[in-house]
């Protein structure tokens, strides 16, 4: 038998190895080192053991209170935008045309918000929502609503959520549309012969066929909203008070605002761990959803 393994190929991995080392491994090691120490600058560090982690996980301390509160806000935000964007995205995808020139037009219009950089989206909504010069804020106030995202918590939340829905529903819609397009006509013809209602077609054919893309959409949107920074930072700056301060905004405040490298490092490690676990679940579910193993089919 010929030898098919060529060990020289390992050299091709070297660039990736170097990039990962400098962009991920070395920074991560440094963060771990910082999380165990305290510093006043000038590369002078003092050993603190797991002190920062203790503080971080204790809600009665300043750091712990801020971390857990921002984590709670972040989870609430993710839950709300998922609850809005996923059903809305499905509705948009279902109402899109299936053929003709209007398909291209719809796709372009839907893709537009996705192409706008985060801080531009933030700036657009920041001006759009201003009660004095913004179209949205001005109109709402003249219709009798007391809308001001700078001073009212609920208004700030509504603004940030509507902004996210505006920015990202298209992603869900485009993914669902791709899922819908992959359903062969035969399914619809069979449904027509059976005299199935519109709802029955959706429940028995379209939803099951979209379920993989929906899974991708939900997990992508969850990860993105869980790491959101720029948009709320540009619009509300985390305010009023701390009401729209999400975990990443809190992290930047601690790391760069207060220059508490130890606290920030501990926070980012825990944050990183949460994201790592979610990513792993994401990856595992994605890679195993399509495989038809006998063991799984028996259960289903």
């Amino acid at each position: 038998m010929d030898k098919t393994v060529n060990q020289k190929a390992w050299f091709l991995v070297l660039p990736v190895f170097l990039v990962v080392a400098f962009s991920a491994v070395i920074p991560l090691m440094t963060v771990v080192n910082y999380s165990m120490q305290d510093t006043f600058g000038n590369n002078q560090f003092f050993w603190n053991g797991v002190g920062w982690f203790k503080e971080l996980l204790d809600p009665s301390t300043d750091l712990g209170g801020r971390f857990l509160a921002s984590l709670g806000r972040n989870l609430l935000f993710s839950a709300i935008i998922l609850a809005i964007e996923v059903p809305l995205g499905i509705v948009v995808a279902l109402s899109m045309p299936r053929e003709g020139w209007s398909v291209a037009a719809c796709l372009v219009i839907l893709a537009l918000p996705l192409l706008i950089p985060w801080n531009v989206v933030g700036t657009i909504w920041q001006i759009f929502g201003r009660p004095d010069i913004g179209l949205l804020g001005y109109v709402l106030n003249h219709l009798g609503f007391d809308y001001n995202y700078v001073s009212n918590d609920v208004d700030a939340w509504v603004t940030v959520i509507v902004m996210d829905v505006w920015h990202w529903t298209s992603l869900v819609a485009l993914l669902c549309y791709a899922g819908l397009k992959s359903i062969p006509d035969a399914y619809y013809q069979a449904a027509q012969i059976d005299g199935a209602s519109r709802w029955a077609v959706f429940k028995a054919i379209q939803l099951p066929k979209m379920n993989r893309v929906l899974l991708i959409a939900v997990l992508l949107r969850f990860m993105d909203s869980f790491m959101i920074y720029t948009e709320p930072f540009v619009v509300t700056g985390g305010g009023p008070g701390n009401s729209t301060t999400f975990v990443s905004i809190e992290l930047v405040k601690i790391a760069l605002g207060q220059f508490d490298l130890g606290k920030a490092a501990a926070l980012s490690l825990v944050y990183n761990l949460i994201i790592l676990i979610v990513c792993w679940v994401f990856y595992t579910v994605m890679t195993n959803a399509g495989t038809d193993r006998p063991a799984k089919e028996g259960v289903a």
Binding site: T30, Q37, K54, L273, N288
Partner: protein
Amino acid sequence: MESIAWMAWTLPTAIFFALLACTLGVMTWLAAVYPEAERVGVLTIPTTRGDRLFISLVLAAVIHLVWIGLVGTDPIFTLPIGEGVEVSSLWLATVISLLSAVAIFRTV
């Protein structure tokens, strides 16, 4: 050493990363010398040794954090070395992590 002073290395973290690097080295050597096939365990997903190591490490991190948050790090006893070395209760979390790693390698 002046050039990497910003990395703020300490002996405990260096030992931690050295052990981690050794583990990865051993796993690589094992994969080369004793190749293995994926298997499906209690999680109903196919896993290799590397997957099981990853799950063990992540779980160990979670166990330690939960321990710090719920139990704390008070010393449980003092080793009679020199003036006495206090042993933190966090080592119990490490023991639990090792036991859970063994369980994961056998069942997952």
